[in-house]
């Protein structure tokens, strides 16, 4: 090796190993763990406790989906969360038709009995 200088004993062993295996294209000189898994950014609700993410992206609670009136439409129109809101896509397309403004008219929304 010309550009890396082995300093400690393990580095010297790595260097020797590389020299011996020079001919092979991909030398596995060392044991190395699997490729790192990086976290992805979630879109939508979490798997179990939607919409109750425990913390928001800043680690606090201010940006959480609050279980309040205005969330009705979030849940109803965009994702349909069974047991919390009726199924808008298939069975209850008119569930919110009497409710123009959820924060004012939410009392007009009735229960459904599937």
């Amino acid at each position: 090796m010309k550009h890396l200088t082995a300093i400690n004993r393990k580095a010297k062993r790595v260097e020797e190993y590389i020299a011996v295996n020079e001919e092979e294209d991909d030398v596995f000189a060392l044991q190395q763990g699997p490729p790192q898994q990086r976290p992805h950014y979630p879109v939508g609700c979490s798997l179990v406790f939607s919409p109750g993410w425990e913390v928001d992206v800043t680690g606090g609670t201010a940006g959480l989906c609050q279980p309040v009136e205005r969330d009705l439409y979030d849940c109803y129109i965009s994702c349909y969360w069974p047991a919390q809101v009726p199924d808008h896509l298939n069975n209850y397309p008119d569930w919110t038709s009497k409710c123009a403004n959820a924060t004012k008219d939410w009392r007009k929304i009735d229960l459904v009995f599937p």
Binding site: L4, N8, R9, K10, A11, R13, I18, A29, Q32, G33
Partner: protein
Amino acid sequence: MSTFRLGEFHPFSGGGQDYLYLVPSGAIFALDPLSHSLLGQLKAGERSQDELITNTTAQGFAAPEVEETIKELYQAHVIANGNGFPAEVQAVPMPFPLQTLVLNVTNQCNLSCKYCYEFGEDRVATASTLDGKPKFMTEETACAAVDFLLANSPGRRAVHLTFFGGETLMNFKVVRATIEYARAQAHAAGKYIDFSLTTNATLLTEPVIDYLAENHVGVTISIDGPQEMNDKLRVFSNGQGSYEIIAPKVKELLAKHRTRPIGARVTLTSQVVNVKAIYRHLKEELGFHEVGFAPVTTSPVRLYAIGNDGLRTVLEQFTELAQEYLACALRDEQHGFSNVSDTLQELHAGVNKSHPCGAGLGLLGVAPSGDIAPCHRFVDSDTHKLGNLATGIDRTTQVDFLERGHIQRKPECHTCWARPVCSGGCYHEAHVRYGDTGHANLHYCDWIRGWTDVCLQIYGEIAARNPKFLAHFEERKAI
């Protein structure tokens, strides 16, 4: 076409030279300007080989040189391409040959140090686990332990016996008889055996000191510094400090016992964190060869527990004292701060530990009853018992203990660059903090990384400015 990304390493510098500490191999390489430039480019993200060559030749380097450097970096796993490397999970090679046996020759002590892991509030051996068991190891049990060590160390030329307590010298008669027996048996088995013990120094007398010196028994003294610090927690049962009793005895030991280096072992607590003052006293005033420090193992709620602020103070003081070590090393002189020399030893070897230590592998602890434990800190704990001298090691329990302690089982460690040397940290510490020997010691992570970084910089500076000093670390200690 190959696309490269950075592999896993920790960059550091020392003595004006840039280095890489490769994870997980533990290899340390020095960089030249060309490799340094390539790594700088990859910091921003993945780059193709062509891009790297174009950018680097623009800085005045020749293309064949650049290609050669990329190959070297790839081969040493400094950089990686998209495929990653195969993961290998090592099975523990069983049975693992023993190297060291620690005999707790008694679980009794004439001191009542408040933080003691055998008697303090966080002890693993309780009244119920000690009930009905012997308090002092008999000569018969100790000799059986010697036979056990010799029989279970196939392939090892040298083995080691350590005497521990309680207070070891409260059973000195058995220590002496065991050393004589062990020497004869080892000779017959064609093995070399050496001995060491740890003591609180209260029972050192002239004949004991003479015996230890004549028999080349390594001695470690538990002492926490000058009187006002030592006597805070290292007290007799009536609360009286132990310093006045031990100081003259320690001086006599250090004057007479010249066949092995004598070390001091300091336990740092919230009340005792003045590392430099303690070192000065023990090294320069009392004359210890080496001084090693360890923070107390305890539940965080105890008054003597060192909190995060305390740990930061300890790291600052360690760093200052380590600079003195460096200055000595550059002058080819020995310095007695053993936390540095121990870490440099491991960095020089390039350890990449599957387990934090040798407990349960090459090292076992033996209780006065003959029960076998992973190490001296777990003796007389029923939950951690790995067998008995009479019945041998329970391999199922041993494998379970080792599997839980394996680095592959500690996901928190998998993104940490210090894992080759730390591997999750002390099992006993983990047990006390988290109730599980296999838990990573997360409360120490910043400290371990900080300290390893300090030691890497010192190592780098020595390698750049006085490389011949590194020969001191060539001889492998038991790691």
